[in-house]
Symmetry: C2
DNA sequence: TATAATCAAGACTAGATTAGTCCTATATAC
DNA sequence: GTATATAGGACTAATCTAGTCTTGATTATA
């Protein structure tokens, strides 16, 4: 449907939560409450993030999750692809020859260009950038409420 | 899944087929054979395109479909949205206030920007452009086969 | 070392979407 | 009147979405 799923959305929220205090281990309960994500569902997503290597986990009491790299070195695209798998705006982009019509299809090049531009945006935003933006936005939101 | 469905893909193929001879009425059988789309499935998609107004239909013998506007005035985005519905890369973009976290979410703006850039690409390609590209590509493919 | 906390892995589910197929009714050219 | 087409809708199998729940392994700490 050309739309990000909840997996991607929740994954980004979780990583942003970790990015706000990168060295601390946060557990599912904390992330779930702070980021408004169902706990049992978040658990699956965190496992995926851990398997991808973006996040490391620690079991047992005082366990939880922390980033494996500084937030500055994690892009939005990496997080999304870690939980959703690689992005292909059209199946014809999965690999050369995936679509037998490639040689004659005039739309293929447009999708390639569209995907390139999407990646430009998603690659250019790091978790550090976004976490900083989040702090600013939260402050503004609080200010306007006062 | 952040991916175009077959509906969109087939819809574009069909409209491009009509664009190659915009005034002629082509029937399902012709489009289906030429564009490699299952006939019964294509029928549903053509009805959707007709309802959207992009294409007009004529029933009965010698009936079929033709474009309602010159190919130069139909964009790729229009065709895709006619069959798939409006594009929203993330649910938070559907409308202001759709996501209760908008005021504090730092990712919202990134999705808005990403969608804007995607639209730039999809809005800039008309069916005339693409049909022309298709003719060129077909000629090249034929040449390289010879 | 017993216990409580916490992640890991996977089974399970209801509902929606995807990618079709098929049938009946209606309209039109000849 | 008949053959040809679209219109509309019912139907389906397979997959995806967005969860929930259970069991098992690991770890800090009293």
């Amino acid at each position: 449907m050309l739309q990000l799923t909840k997996d991607g959305e929740y994954g980004v929220r979780a990583v942003l939560h970790l990015a706000s205090d990168p060295m601390r281990f946060s557990d599912i309960k904390e992330i779930s409450a702070a980021q408004d994500v169902p706990g049992n569902y978040l658990a699956k997503i965190m496992q995926q993030l851990a398997r991808s290597g973006l996040v490391r986990s620690r079991r047992g009491a005082k366990g939880g999750y922390a980033l494996s790299r500084p937030p500055r070195r994690i892009t939005l695209r990496e997080v999304i692809e870690a939980v959703e798998g690689p992005i292909f705006l059209n199946v014809c982009l999965i690999r050369k020859g995936e679509c037998p019509r490639d040689a004659i299809c005039p739309v293929h090049d447009v999708w390639r260009e569209a995907q390139r531009r999407l990646f430009e945006v998603l690659d250019s935003r790091t978790m550090e950038d976004l976490a900083g933006e989040g702090v600013k936005k939260a402050a503004r939101a609080k200010g306007s409420r006062a």
